[in-house]
Assembly symmetry: none
Amino acid sequence: MTRILVVDDEPQILRALRINLAARHYEVAVAADGGAALRQAADWQPDLIMLDLGLPDIDGVDVIHGVRGWSSIPIIVLSGRASNQDKIDALDAGADDYVTKPFGIDELLARVRAVTRRAAVQDEELAQVQVGEHVVDLSRKTVSSGVRLTPTEWHILEILLRNPGKLVSQRQLLAEVWGAKFVKETHYLRQYMVQLRRKLEADPAHPAHLITEPGMGYRFMP
Amino acid sequence: MTRILVVDDEPQILRALRINLAARHYEVAVAADGGAALRQAADWQPDLIMLDLGLPDIDGVDVIHGVRGWSSIPIIVLSGRASNQDKIDALDAGADDYVTKPFGIDELLARVRAVTRRAAVQDEELAQVQVGEHVVDLSRKTVSSGVRLTPTEWHILEILLRNPGKLVSQRQLLAEVWGAKFVKETHYLRQYMVQLRRKLEADPAHPAHLITEPGMGYRFMP
DNA sequence: GCCGGTCTTGACGGGTTCCATACGCCATCA
DNA sequence: TGATGGCGTATGGAACCCGTCAAGACCGGC
């Protein structure tokens, strides 16, 4: 189910959007200011953000920057300001679409579908990945032959599998799984890479798919 | 260079868009009706399509369907019809954005950047450089034929490859890789240039791509 | 309160990478 | 022709990183 974070400081708009989106079977969370929005975006990991530019604490464009610093979640801007420069600033900051109030709910929903369409295509393609003898299903969180993974193991494996063939730095893995304060704790990774290889590799001592790049990071080889 | 196909039946709009886009260094092709648009899209392989809905031969939504049948090229719809249903139909047919005439050229350009941004991210990942017999992929941190590089080797090679044909001073290399305090330790560089040439050059004693400029620095020749 | 699974933390051996030193070659210039 | 400076190459030890084992801490369900 698609998770949408709605950010607006007007309670009645928040309420109207929540009801309309929930009726279309979206999962909805709300935030009333920029600080809450950034926190929610990080904690709740929405699939899309609807962002009003006129927030009480932080300027909307800065919220976009704040999110784009670590994520490429689609962002649709809702705004009362119809001026061209506002649109340009928001879009160039990293917004995916810009809708001017007042707007029809049906148009908004169509834009939501348009923006999420691409991301959905990519996710579906990545749903199942072959790792040696095993098939990993990322959306259903299952592995063939009854292999079971712990939450932390899933988290690490997902990051690696979403970047096939690409080097993923230890720093990035530690920051995404444990948080920014743990980027030096490389032995956490060593620990879990052993576990993953034991569960997925045919010969855990000589891994063929979960590869170490000494001094740099790890890599998933399809 | 980004290639944009502009589809509109009004010659003056076609002309205005062509001039404005060309001024921003986009490569532009035009089509005046739906048939020509579908042909051009297939033949010319644009990176983005700007599509007017009011075409003389085919309905704009059907043009979108025609393109989406075989491609996921980004499509921005330009339209005089401001009705909600038109927007919804176009977006659900597969358009990425919908702009209502009249529009500001700056807003349109911002939307072009927003729509092409995601595709651009994927293109960046094709940052491959040919070094003699080998192909170096900077984003994935891989070299063809199983050649492996250490972190320091990567660091030096990246700086050189990102400045193709340009002289990079020893001072700059030492400062970037080891820090400002090491700008005199030129023997570090000699050490690692040997290693890089051994791993990448066909004849390491007579390098063809990783060139020394005596007394000044090093240069990567494509 | 007990128990199983999971996550954190510590310690150790082996291998690789990095750094330091030494030496030979070559071009330039006196 | 000899001195000099910059460069390429070889080699050894130190530091670092990784994989592995093991044990304690934490957390949930029963």
